[in-house]
Symmetry: C2
Amino acid sequence: MTDSNEIDTATKALAHPVRRQILAWLKEPERWFSDQAHPLDYGVCAGMIDKKTGLSQSTTSAHLSTLQKANLVTTRKVGQWVYFKRNEETIKAFLDALEQTL
Amino acid sequence: MTDSNEIDTATKALAHPVRRQILAWLKEPERWFSDQAHPLDYGVCAGMIDKKTGLSQSTTSAHLSTLQKANLVTTRKVGQWVYFKRNEETIKAFLDALEQTL
DNA sequence: AATATATATCGAATTATTTGGATATACAAG
DNA sequence: CTTGTATATCCAAATAATTCGATATATATT
């Protein structure tokens, strides 16, 4: 995350309130997604996030894709579900890099 | 900078490489703008920044305006010149807020 | 195999951002 | 008061981002 290109991708990913909101929700999955049928250890599945954003399934999927391309979240596919988790390592590295370069 | 709207404005302002570059240059004015005719204590005047970005005067002016609207820089007008400085207070507050909310 | 569910991708419309040329404004100097 | 310089604003064109419906893909169930 010291690379200029990674920082660019991450800052762009964070430049949308819905994507920042998603990251904030993923900070406390048990608080925001307690109604998930699957264990939260896996992460939060895409459909649960769709429901919360109020946006269409395809739009939310695009936002999640943007977050993943920026490495701000990790995904894990189990059966037909895709679980999302914050990538704390990258998030921290990004915040550190921003503090440095900014 | 605890307000959600301010964070939105700031993240959008940082979502462009040229604007991040300008903020980085302003961190070390004596290093990057040693050829400025006016004292650097005032800040760095817009024209010096134009020259460095390689973009047109009007485009650079728009970028500087975006940074100012986000309160990431302060300006001071002296004669016909406008001097820009980093707003360290807001930058720090933003980084802190980002660390909190993100 | 047929059906149902979860997610991703495609295509097109809408909106936002970036860009530069031209012009306006403000100030300084002659 | 005219001319020159610095910066901002206006305008239009180009590019990028957002959004959604429709469809594709993958998996699960019957």
